[in-house]
Symmetry: none
Subunit: 82 residues, 4 copies
DNA sequence: CTGCCATTTTACCGGC
DNA sequence: GCCGGTAAAATGGCAG
């Protein structure tokens, strides 16, 4: 097989892996929509719920940043958590 | 437990389910990025790859749309597939 | 006139241009709705018509995407159309 | 020409009118984007500008509603503006 | 750090 | 008049 023939197969493999992963990702997105929908059916306000999720994500990010900073300080003091 | 206490638990449960799913989704996104990165390391052009993936998705969407339109026409003619 | 006074005027001008354009855009949206409505009055199914329009748009987008991909490949091969 | 042949032409005409209008609408959307872009180049914050536009639109809607209510009251009192 | 692209969110339109 | 779904806008994230 020629070199480019090999490359072609390789490319095809990459593309297919990506498409497989994107499919799973889309399935999860569908699941999430479904949960929101279910919540809505139980009387919750979806728009507000989305805000809650977003805020909690931000908080998490902040906390992780704080953790990272703490690690940095500890390392600087030769007290790394390992 | 009061009614609102119950609602609170219920909401918490919904939120947690969503957050769990979003985590998985984010993990998949990371996987996808990694595949692109790996492909790049093998010499492929990521920009082109993305376009290939997008085009293939578009083709699929197109086909589905054609199907949908056929269904609609059939329904409109009282010949729905049931 | 102060510098910020100038900026204020400038901003006002931008905003007004945008609002004027959005007005025109809204007018066109109204026109489109009217055409659909007229078609409906002539016995056509609006839902199907919308799908037809969507499909034709998709086809166009698809063709443009194919063109874009071709350009990319040519560029990647150092054979850009220039 | 048969009746359905006529309908076909009629439908085609509707579709084409719609597509023409949508093209113009898309062109305006592009113009708007361009104005934002220009404003950005002059140092304005696009995100804020969008908020401004949105708020002013709401105000307008409110004002129109107020006007409508006023008309209603005046009419009820036999004092229509006419 | 900038521009582009994907995802998300908002608004609209038709149907029930 | 509301609801569901669909299109448009807007925000956020990633590559270059």
């Amino acid at each position: 097989m020629t070199k480019s023939g090999f490359a072609k197969e390789h490319l095809k493999s990459f593309i297919e892996r990506i498409e497989r992963l994107e499919e799973e990702k889309a399935a999860l997105a569908a699941d999430i929509r479904e949960v929101y929908s279910e919540a809505k059916g139980t009387g919750f306000d979806v728009k507000i719920m989305r805000q809650v999720v977003r805020l909690r994500k931000l908080d998490t990010a902040d906390r992780q940043e704080q953790d990272a900073i703490l690690d940095l300080y500890l390392s600087a003091l030769g007290m790394g958590r390992e």
